[in-house]
Chain length 365, copies 2
């Protein structure tokens, strides 16, 4: 009874007066985030129906090197889970199952309502193939949800306009701070406030390395630890030179200020030049080095943006953000600074971002 | 163009297809928060119409000792602002203006759509007169928005049920963390996550005192500073003995867990027993004393709750919260810990909470 009362207001919007909505969904890419999403779907299937009148029907999964499966009547989640880290040819036979569809073919099938884009991309090669998947899906009138930073950072205005033109939904919560709802907070929860500055720790890998260096290890040693734990890539350039944080800053500038920002317009510096001595000198003076990404709306309407190692005093909430955590401080006119701290990565957490976009889509439909 | 694109999704919900909604609003109580709301209304009137198709028409203000004004066609905001800290008999004459209506009479007038309840209350005397104002308004089919903790902490299930029964909206975002959207984050932004624990710094007065004591001042001296700056009342019991934080914890338990919690069920201890020596000993060991309010959902469905001074390590984001700031950490199943840090009080910030409730009401209608 109490649990019901507590959600009265939402029930008005999502409850018994509404009819069940079914969304036929395909996953493009099936790595850690895709598998996290599958696990989440299994765990929350009944809850989503009950609470949001949303029936998520997973009808296809396409990968680049491990095959694909598609069935317009729905895949068996338990069977898919059992072969999730193997080749999808091991997924068991079922009536009307189609194997081997290419991503672009699968997403265009009439039965598909929502395309979840999770293929591996970088900022090189114009964020392909994710970019083409998203553009093709929007053009075909499909809703698109992605955790891929590249396409959103590089083509946000275009993609939003394309979605608008086709009357479909484009969700991208997972592109910044993983599962922590940083973009939704700026778009929805701070409705009515004007945000003049965004300042944050947007890359968990570099924050982990800087935290390690505070224990006296060198940059090279800390990087090796990060690589050994899977936090850093074999080629760490994207993280340690600040490209990843800069890409997220571009997305934030779009979402928060409605302004386009290019990678070349960001004053970007990485952490590779920091010495253990510098890190410890800051600590001795009650400060911590953090890779701070900052975008400020100037009085003339331009956005100035930087990503650079910065000494942050302990009185700043960003100084308390350790290890792989991320944080954003929004500077607002009405309520001052609001800081959100949470995990910035992880398959399960990022999968939650996809789910939260699906819930927003269901409410929007 | 970019600014428009950035808000495409919200425009779907709030934009051109929707007709303008007018909400005739009365204010009960006209202290710092009420005056902050008036200033906000003046500053955002055009913006609310343009962005949310919401026309807020302030038609009445009632106070206990400074009279009242009411005009079903709307008050003149500039004229009201000019007399905001004086007796309302100084508000200039206008056609069909009614003076001297009691709050309960004013809120029942047919022209009223929304009652904003801001009269001074404590937890004593069953949070009257705010409680009666809210109950009467809901019974009369009016939407109610309040920043008054007392009625929401003491009677949340009843009030929500009454609002539900009458099909009206009950907004209370301003009751916890002032303008920082802590409740909305739990209710909306974390949709789909299960929250198992809430842990936070919910009282700015005690946090200010504890921050002062870290500079070596005694509790008594720090309290005097807080009183001189208007952060603490002449009788500081409600803050320093943890009653204020406990009341907010009751509201959080309702909203987050859907569970009723009584003041007597909270293991409550204040900060009056803390010595400067204890405060500095913690600092020397890399920790800070904070008045931590915590509510945990137990496996058997009960909620265990406490408010007590706690030593918090600097690695905990709550340790970075200084002075009058507030913070909440939500422990979730899908994305781990999410911490929100922001101002916990202030007339303008709390007025923003009222505005955010009005925007939610407009979307809900």
């Amino acid at each position: 009874m109490q649990a019901l009362l507590a959600h009265t207001l939402e029930n008005r919007l999502t409850g018994s007066e509404m009819t069940m909505k079914t969304l036929n969904t395909v996953l493009l890419g099936f790595g850690a985030v895709g598998r996290g999403f599958l696990a989440l779907l299994q765990a929350r299937h009944a809850y989503l129906q009950e609470r949001y009148k949303l029936r998520l029907n997973l009808i296809g999964v396409a990968t680049a090197r491990r095959g694909s499966v598609f069935c317009s009547e729905g895949l068996n989640l338990a069977a898919l889970s059992a072969v999730a880290d193997r080749h999808l040819s091991e997924y068991p036979e079922q009536p009307r199952l189609i194997r081997g569809l290419e991503p672009l073919t699968m997403l265009s099938r009439p039965a598909v309502d929502v395309v979840i884009e999770l293929t591996p991309t970088t900022y090189e090669n114009n964020a392909e193939p994710a970019m083409s998947h998203i553009r093709t899906a929007l053009a075909a009138g499909k809703h698109v949800i992605t955790a891929n930073k590249g396409p959103i950072a590089l083509a946000y205005p275009d993609l939003v306009a394309q979605a608008e033109h086709r009357g479909v939904f484009l969700g991208y919560e997972g592109t910044v701070m993983g599962g922590t709802p940083a973009l939704r907070m700026a778009r929805k929860t701070l409705a009515g406030c004007h945000i003049s500055e965004v300042r944050g720790i947007l890359n968990g890998t570099t924050n982990f390395i800087l935290t390690e260096m505070e224990r006296g290890t060198s940059y090279a040693e800390a990087l090796r630890t990060a690589q050994a734990r899977g936090y850093a890539e074999a080629d760490p350039t994207n993280d340690v030179e600040g490209f990843d944080a800069a890409g997220k800053l571009i997305i934030l500038a779009h979402v928060v200020f409605g302004k386009a920002l290019r990678m070349t317009e960001i004053d970007r510096r990485g952490i590779t030049g920091l010495t253990p001595e510098a890190v410890q000198a800051a600590q001795a003076q009650g400060e911590r080095w953090k890779l701070i990404a900052q975008a400020t709306l100037q009085p003339d309407g331009r956005v100035s943006a930087s990503v650079r190692p910065t000494r942050v005093p302990l009185s700043d909430p960003l100084a308390s953000v350790s290890g792989g955590m991320n944080a954003i401080t929004y500077q607002t006119d009405l309520i001052g600074n609001v800081t959100l701290i949470g995990a910035g990565a992880g398959g399960e957490a990022t999968a939650y971002a996809l789910l939260s976009d699906l819930i927003e889509l269901a409410e929007w439909l």
